[in-house]
């Protein structure tokens, strides 16, 4: 009896005070991209949010003919990170919803200032999803968020596709909030993530594109890697996707060749040589021939071996370029070498860790690349007219 009574009491209290946390979906503004910039005014931060306008989204039921942008972009300058979404909620008639957000773009100026407060916000806020991608932008993040894609109705979707397809072509290496913070919080390691920029694609159109990698020294951006070094980074970072690979000088005039790396596997093995730390990078890759312009004696094993050798050299040079830039110039351990040594040689690490950053420049890194040609495609040598 008493149970029923308390039950009824609680039920009525539920009815009387209504539903506290129920928010109708039509009252939500779904954020699809989140940009952070350093404001020109000193000390302030500019937020740019891209939200969807549902009435402009075409569904199978209803298609709107005119190609209007289906997103709304709002910029707001506030003092602190916490103010951002609240500020936006103030002026929008809908409640902002961050949980579906997959794209976070951070301006270069902001990244150089240090990302700890931003990451704190994204880790702490109950509505943020830690799988969201972190991209560093050349210039202002707000410009990318304002940019309208010709392909997708929601520009953020285009960027998301961009991030996802880099898995297939290994154009870059992107971190999300979780992996970024994970690297940040692991003592010797620093994060690095892809950069995004708007490029003129001709016909008076611009296109967003991933280009280069932003290298951090702890939470501050130290610099960036150019195209060649980025390729090197994807090798070291064990990005396993396919990639096209052109051998610059094949040793024979009028012959050009492109290989497709089908799969690769990179192992980073820490070693101690004479009591000093050293790193062995082992790359195993399998390739097939993608395009061949000009005849080469592919029927013989020797030629294939020679080609493999050239590929190996090429990959090695990419990796070394990347290592030089990161270790010698920026003096930052974006590859997690320090942590690798720590795991394998915990006792010796105690000596190294004090001056690890200074030691990076002199760190001995041995690269061992092994390429195997698996297939030449449907034909062996090129077609001879």
């Amino acid at each position: 009896m008493k149970i029923k009574l308390t039950f009824i009491l609680i039920l009525t209290s539920v009815f009387l005070s209504g539903c506290w946390d129920l928010v109708e979906i039509k009252d939500r503004a779904i954020i699809t991209a989140f940009g952070i910039d350093k404001s020109d005014m000193d000390g302030k931060i500019t937020f740019t949010l891209q939200t969807i306008i549902p009435s402009r989204i075409s569904t199978p039921m209803k298609t709107s003919p005119e190609m209007k942008p289906s997103v709304r972009v709002v910029s707001k300058t506030t003092d602190s990170f916490a103010d951002a979404i609240r500020e936006y909620a103030k002026q929008a008639e809908r409640r902002t919803y961050l949980m579906q957000n997959r794209i976070i773009i951070i301006g270069e100026d902001m990244a150089k200032e240090g990302l700890t407060p931003a990451m704190d916000f994204f880790m702490r806020h109950p509505d943020s999803f830690q799988g969201a991608w972190v991209l560093i932008c050349k210039g202002k993040a707000s410009e990318i968020i304002k940019w309208n894609s010709e392909v997708e109705r929601i520009p953020a979707d285009f960027i998301e596709e961009l991030v996802k397809t880099r898995n297939f072509i290994c154009s870059s290496s992107v971190e999300n909030i979780h992996t970024f913070v994970n690297k940040l919080s692991t003592k010797p390691t620093s994060p690095a993530t892809a950069m995004i920029e708007l490029v003129d694609s001709g016909n008076n159109e611009t296109e967003a594109r991933l280009s280069g990698i932003a290298v951090f020294k702890k939470d501050k951006m130290a610099g960036m890697l150019d195209n060649l070094e980025t390729k090197g980074y994807t090798w070291i970072n064990n990005e396993r996707g396919r990639r096209l690979f052109e051998i610059g000088d094949i040793g024979k005039a009028n012959v050009k060749m492109t290989h497709e790396i089908e799969g690769s596997r990179t192992k980073i093995i820490p070693e101690l040589i004479n009591g000093k730390p050293a790193i062995l990078i082992k790359v195993n890759a399998t390739t097939k021939i993608y395009v061949q312009d000009g005849s080469l004696d592919l029927d013989s094993q020797d030629t294939l071996k020679k080609l493999e050798k050239m590929l190996e050299e090429e990959i090695k040079s990419q990796i070394e370029a990347c290592l030089n830039k990161a270790l010698k110039e920026y003096k930052t351990d974006i590859f997690g070498f320090g942590e690798k040594i720590h795991r394998k040689y915990p006792k010796e690490w105690k000596k190294f860790k004090v001056k690890w950053e200074d030691a990076l420049a002199d760190l001995k890194v041995i690269t061992d690349v092994n390429v195997k040609t698996k297939s030449t495609g449907m034909i062996i040598d090129t077609i001879k007219p």
Partner: protein, 364 residues
């Protein structure tokens, strides 16, 4: 008394051992283990549950000596009337601490989903379930445990599979970087977690229909609970790394949030609501029955049912005392070494006295 009326089967006993061993502990234990022992926390969990298994065997032997008495009832027989009663009271009062802490953890967790709903309402909804089951009897709880323990184990398994593409088991190395002392320090917090299930068993053990099989339940149930927790700990560390895990309020919850299947389905923290609620339900009742039955038997009451509603109300009120999450989790780590550990030490002590005094009522 209550052990005459209600009987539980071997399978139910087995599930109850696991329920007490896992319960909601998996939401809480990672954080203190990481703070104390870093990435080697799993070792302390492993040792804790091994020790707890041994403790369970001692309890089974002790229980078989007094087949128709619970822990509270044979304490005065073993230690003498006055000391036995005094320690019995201490035992009952100790468990009063647990329920508010658990329900507080739950309310803090639910704040994530329901930020503006009054916390007290969320807690009292949970207590409606508790009161309902308590009135229906211990048998009903044992029966529901059969389902919900399986749900908890299955969900944890799913969780580990779901996160497996994102883990790096290298994070567990180096092993014992700072020697064994952090692990042993962490044991002070972890062992009480593991011993909770055995201390609960001390009260329901005489209800078992085949008491002889209690040994088997302990030998299989406690290691299963321990193994699941060790695996979960390893997964958490492999996912977040020790540095990040120490800063998170609940690493397991954070891990569940991160799971997403090819950008199609995410938001597993809500999908796993069944896991959160069933774990809290199991643990809440373990520590609701404990002081309740204990007190009823200490006072020689015929029935514990009149104590249910006052008990529930007191627990709910106590749960509102901690000002915030930080204070609540501080209290959480405080209770383990100072309250539960002495209680766990009591069992071998009583056993030794019983062996020396050659007390055995099993032939009666």
């Amino acid at each position: 008394m209550f052990q005459d009326k209600e009987k539980i089967s071997v399978n139910q006993a087995f599930m109850l051992v696991i329920a007490g061993g896992i319960g909601n502990i998996f939401l809480v234990y990672v954080n203190p283990a990481v703070k104390d022992a870093g990435r080697d926390g799993w070792l302390s969990v492993l040792i804790a549950y091994t020790m707890s298994t041994l403790l369970g065997l001692v309890l089974v032997n002790l229980g078989l000596r007094f087949p128709d008495k619970t822990f509270i009832q044979y304490l005065p027989v073993v230690l003498g009337k006055f000391i036995g009663k005094l320690i019995g009271l201490a035992y009952v009062l100790c468990w009063m601490v647990m329920n508010p802490i658990i329900i507080r953890d739950f309310m803090d967790l639910m704040r994530f989903f329901l930020p503006t709903t009054p916390q007290l309402l969320i807690g009292s909804l949970m207590y409606i379930l508790v009161i309902y089951v308590a009135y229906k009897g211990f048998e009903v709880y044992a029966r529901t445990a059969e389902l919900f323990v399986v749900i908890v184990l299955f969900s944890i398994l799913l969780l580990m599979i779901g996160i497996s593409p994102n883990v790096d088991y290298g994070s567990l190395k180096p092993f014992l970087e700072n020697g064994f002392s952090p692990v042993s320090k962490s044991l002070l917090v972890q062992f009480p977690f593991a011993a909770e299930t055995i201390l609960f068993m001390a009260l329901w053990y005489p209800c078992m229909s085949q008491m002889k099989k209690g040994k088997k339940c302990v030998l299989i149930g406690v290691p299963i609970a321990g193994l699941v927790l060790v695996l979960l700990f390893i997964t958490v560390i492999a996912f977040t790394g020790p540095a990040m895990a120490a800063e998170l309020t609940s690493p397991v919850f954070y891990m569940v949030r991160y799971i997403h299947i090819s950008d199609f389905i995410s938001g597993f923290e809500a999908l796993f609501m069944l896991l959160w609620v069933s774990s809290i339900y199991l643990e809440l009742l373990v520590f609701f029955y404990q002081p309740l039955i204990g007190l009823a038997q200490w006072l020689n009451l015929k029935d514990y049912k009149p104590l249910i509603i006052p008990g529930a109300i007191i627990n709910l009120m106590l749960s509102l005392i901690p000002a915030n999450v930080v204070q609540a989790s501080y209290l959480d780590t405080l209770k383990n070494p100072y309250i539960i550990l002495p209680m766990a030490a009591l069992i071998p002590l009583v056993w030794m006295v019983a062996v020396i005094r050659k007390l055995d009522e099993s032939n009666k």
